[in-house]
């Protein structure tokens, strides 16, 4: 199906009605009306549709209790709903089964889990972990902690001036010393979608498992962990129109099975004595303590929501926005877009000549436009492009071309203000 046909079917105004917050204005004061919110910061966290909010409210009002413990009615009801979402997440990623799905508190925790449990068990001094230059700090710092403890070596795959991952350099970095590859599936700064399948294939030729940070990728396209042949894949609920406080780790079961617990506590043990404790099989082994139960229910509703809209239809809509925004922004004099890789996600980072991003952010905010400014938790990448901090507009399934126009207009105001 062509983009045009998909877009005709995609009624963004109806979609927007599902998101109560999008109807609000900002900076209203002293009887003066505010500016309509133009939310272009979904890359940091997406807004929530009524369907998610209501599913969580309904669960709390009608079915809430702790899970996996009680013999009572509600405990069973809540457990059933919680576990049904695990199965739903498995289908969402096309994981072979739901035992490969571990709920964590965030993508960050999911990566820390792998670094801590897999890394501390199977990596030793001199072993190498390959990351890329475009990693979020969440996929850098856990490995640095492991580096400090186990004296592993971190290797970094560079990217070219467009933000395309340098696959030749990656191939060269892979060696007998490589023990793990951990790379983003979609850069939160550049929007670059990395060739996950090729990355995994090359790693597997060296017998090396691969972790993908899919925090941005699952939002903007369909992910099939079996097709990619990912060994670990992580994402977070709150960027996928779901609640905060919940992440997902997918792991191949053979790997999860041989990994020790990450944290100790309730719900992850078979038996506890002071002489010793035996642990449950994954995924329970990695889910110590009471999980974010209501949030898991919310994630289930978020997945239902994006699947009902159609992930291809969403991707087509976002692609249209990206192209339109890129075109409009390119006409702003002195504006430089950072990251122009083919097939990128709907994320546009840019620098405006003569004006610091922080000042841009403050001024466009007065026009109701919410963007992210700074280094986007990816400091090494900012250095790579020699731009320091940037402004980032990230588009979601509810954004419109008019909002891209509003961004461009507010940038013109910035330029007037600074005489830039």
């Amino acid at each position: 199906m062509s983009d045009a046909i998909l877009n005709q079917a995609y009624d963004v105004q109806r979609v927007r009605e599902d998101f109560p917050i999008l109807a609000r204005s900002v900076h209203a004061r002293k009887g003066k009306p505010g500016k309509p919110l133009v939310y272009l910061d979904s890359g940091a966290s997406a807004q929530k549709p009524r369907q998610v909010i209501q599913a969580m409210t309904r669960f709390l009002e009608e079915d809430y209790s702790n899970i996996h413990r009680g013999v009572h009615f509600l405990s069973q009801t809540a457990t059933d709903q919680f576990e049904a979402v695990r199965a739903k997440v498995a289908r969402f990623l096309n994981a072979p089964n739901d035992r490969c799905i571990v709920f964590t508190r965030s993508s960050t925790e999911a990566i820390n889990l792998v670094a801590s449990s897999y890394g501390r068990t199977f990596l030793n001094e001199g072993d190498e972990v390959i990351l890329s230059i475009m990693e979020h700090h969440a996929n850098i710092v856990p490995w640095q902690l492991l580096q400090a403890e186990k004296k592993i070596v971190i290797k970094v795959v560079p990217c070219d001036e467009f933000g395309v991952l340098d696959m030749d350099a990656y191939r060269d970095l892979l060696s007998d010393r490589t023990k793990l590859v951990a790379i983003t599936h979609c850069s939160n700064v550049l929007g670059t979608v990395t060739p996950a399948k090729a990355i995994a294939k090359l790693a597997h030729e060296h017998g090396v498992p691969v972790l993908f940070d899919g925090s941005q990728a699952v939002v903007h396209g369909t992910v099939d962990v079996q097709d990619i042949d990912a060994d670990f894949y992580v994402f977070t609920a709150h960027k996928l129109y779901g609640p905060t406080g919940l992440g997902v780790l997918y792991g191949k079961y053979d790997l999860l099975k041989k990994m020790p617990p990450y944290q100790g506590g309730g719900d992850m043990i078979e038996s506890v004595t002071f002489e010793g404790t035996t642990f449950k099989a994954p995924p329970s082994r990695f889910e110590a303590g009471t999980p974010p139960i209501t949030e898991v229910v919310g994630l289930g509703a978020a997945i239902d929501y994006v699947e009902a809209l159609g992930r291809d239809a969403i991707a087509a809509h976002e692609h249209d926005l990206l192209q339109y925004a890129t075109q409009q922004l390119s006409q702003v004099e002195g504006l430089r877009i950072v990251g122009t890789a083919p097939g990128k996600g709907p994320i546009v980072s840019f620098a405006l000549e003569g004006v610091h991003p922080h000042d841009v952010g403050t001024i466009v905010d007065q026009y109701g436009v919410a963007v992210r400014v700074g280094r986007h938790c990816a400091e090494p990448l900012a250095e790579r492009f020699g731009v320091g901090p940037t402004v980032r507009a990230s588009f979601g399934l509810y954004n419109t071309r008019e909002e891209a126009d509003a961004l461009v207009q507010s940038l013109q105001a910035v330029k007037e203000f600074f005489g830039a």
Binding site: R29, P357, H358, D359, T362, I363, Q366, G374, G419
Partner: protein
């Protein structure tokens, strides 16, 4: 709302932001401290030449937004020629002005200096920008106390 913006970015701030004064590294500086805002990447070095307890020279270098650059530039003009104790008093006064609706200003600051300090106080309406305005001041204060750095995490 645009009034707030104009108050934040007055002519004098835009001017100092574009053409910062004392943007250099003095050869005879005997104190220096780094000011860093890890959130946005703003980074300044503030250099002091203290002679007999007086700020004989003060300068800065680095990269930041219009607010932080202008504030650093104006700080150098205000602190120059002051005793270390007076410079610290100015730091506390400035910090109060940027963060408190009813600032508690230390005694002994002349009207002209107060007026210059007040220029940046519009930043109070923009809480996330307070750290920009106070960054170089914190670094200056750290340098006065012989500390190597000030991070906005600790402000």
């Amino acid at each position: 709302m645009m009034d707030d913006l104009r108050e934040l970015y007055q002519e004098v701030i835009l001017d100092h932001g574009k053409h910062p004064r004392n943007f250099r590294h003095p050869d005879d500086a005997n104190r220096e401290a780094k000011g860093e805002n890890p959130m946005c990447g703003d980074r300044f070095m503030v250099y002091l030449t203290l002679k007999d307890g007086v700020v004989d020279d003060v300068a800065f270098q680095g990269r930041g937004c219009a607010i932080s650059t202008a504030s650093a530039s104006m700080m150098t003009e205000l602190v120059h020629g002051k005793t270390a104790a007076e410079a610290e008093t100015l730091f506390h006064a400035f910090h109060e002005l940027c963060t408190q609706d009813e600032p508690d200003i230390p005694e002994g600051i002349d009207d002209e200096t107060m007026e210059k300090l007040m220029v940046m106080s519009g930043v109070r309406q923009f809480p996330v920008r307070v750290k920009c305005a106070t960054l170089a001041w914190h670094a200056m204060n750290a340098a006065l106390h012989g500390e190597a750095s000030a991070s906005s995490d600790q402000f």
